[in-house]
Symmetry: C2
Amino acid sequence: MPPDLREELKQTKPFARRSAEAAVSVMRTAAVLEHELNDVLKPHGLTLTQYNVLRILRGAGNSGLCGREVGERLISRVPDVSRLLERMEDTGVVSRERDDNDRRHVTARITEAGRRLLEAVTPELEVVERARFGRLSESALQTMITALANVRDRV
Amino acid sequence: MPPDLREELKQTKPFARRSAEAAVSVMRTAAVLEHELNDVLKPHGLTLTQYNVLRILRGAGNSGLCGREVGERLISRVPDVSRLLERMEDTGVVSRERDDNDRRHVTARITEAGRRLLEAVTPELEVVERARFGRLSESALQTMITALANVRDRV
DNA sequence: TGACAATACAAGTTATAACATGTAATCTCC
DNA sequence: GGAGATTACATGTTATAACTTGTATTGTCA
């Protein structure tokens, strides 16, 4: 039996509504997940955001993506993609190049080092993912995914 | 029908596993929620973390809580409760007092101004909560809560 | 009871997030 | 084709998060 959230956060009072408990559950679960994933990534010199950028750029292939496009694909929107990519260029996992067709654009691409780093850390993250979500059935996962999509898609 | 997460993040490839999609769903939903709640709180000069501290301290009543206890009750653990409470003391929503019985402790309490602020913002946050979670049935909410508790409670 | 460990917080430092503003390049449309 | 709007990014600033180290107080136990 999973522990009660109220007990986990040492709350004295019960939640006023089930929707309030659901909201806190989502945020608390994300915090636990992100913390654990960041712990896995830290020895590799990556944050979770940077890891996501690498996955996005790998998915984009040789043509790369401009900063705005990277920002649109991130799980949580970062208003400062410029410096995020700049830091990643400093560590050598990303290359940046000003586009000749439209000189406003800076195209970012994953480097070979970035690709190797990505391949090294991904299985470690999958261990966390399986440990966390492995006990849920496929149908329970699908139910959760659909319900969360409903939460994001408000009027 | 809720929009697909893959489309939402403009992913070209489908998720490798349902558990991977579930993990991203949780983090993405929390990010959307937290952003919206912070937007509501900002005009009141509060962050979501500070709002949670106020709720925690109101729940503790007159006896208050020491910094460590506040930290244990927060949704996402903050390693720097000292300065968080210090900032909140500066804005007048919290008072701090060194405990005479154990002079290592600093007891924090919500002030009357903090209580009023809490009462002012809570209904605004509930509007967000209802808009986001209102379409889900009580049983769907309960299913989600249980599933998320399972995710947090790994071996 | 006195040395050592543990606890609770404070403070210093670095890195990042958040927000606003600035700037160069491109687009629009009369 | 040129003024103004738009886009994409860079930069400056402030605030907060994350991590480390420091310090005072209390607890433990030989």
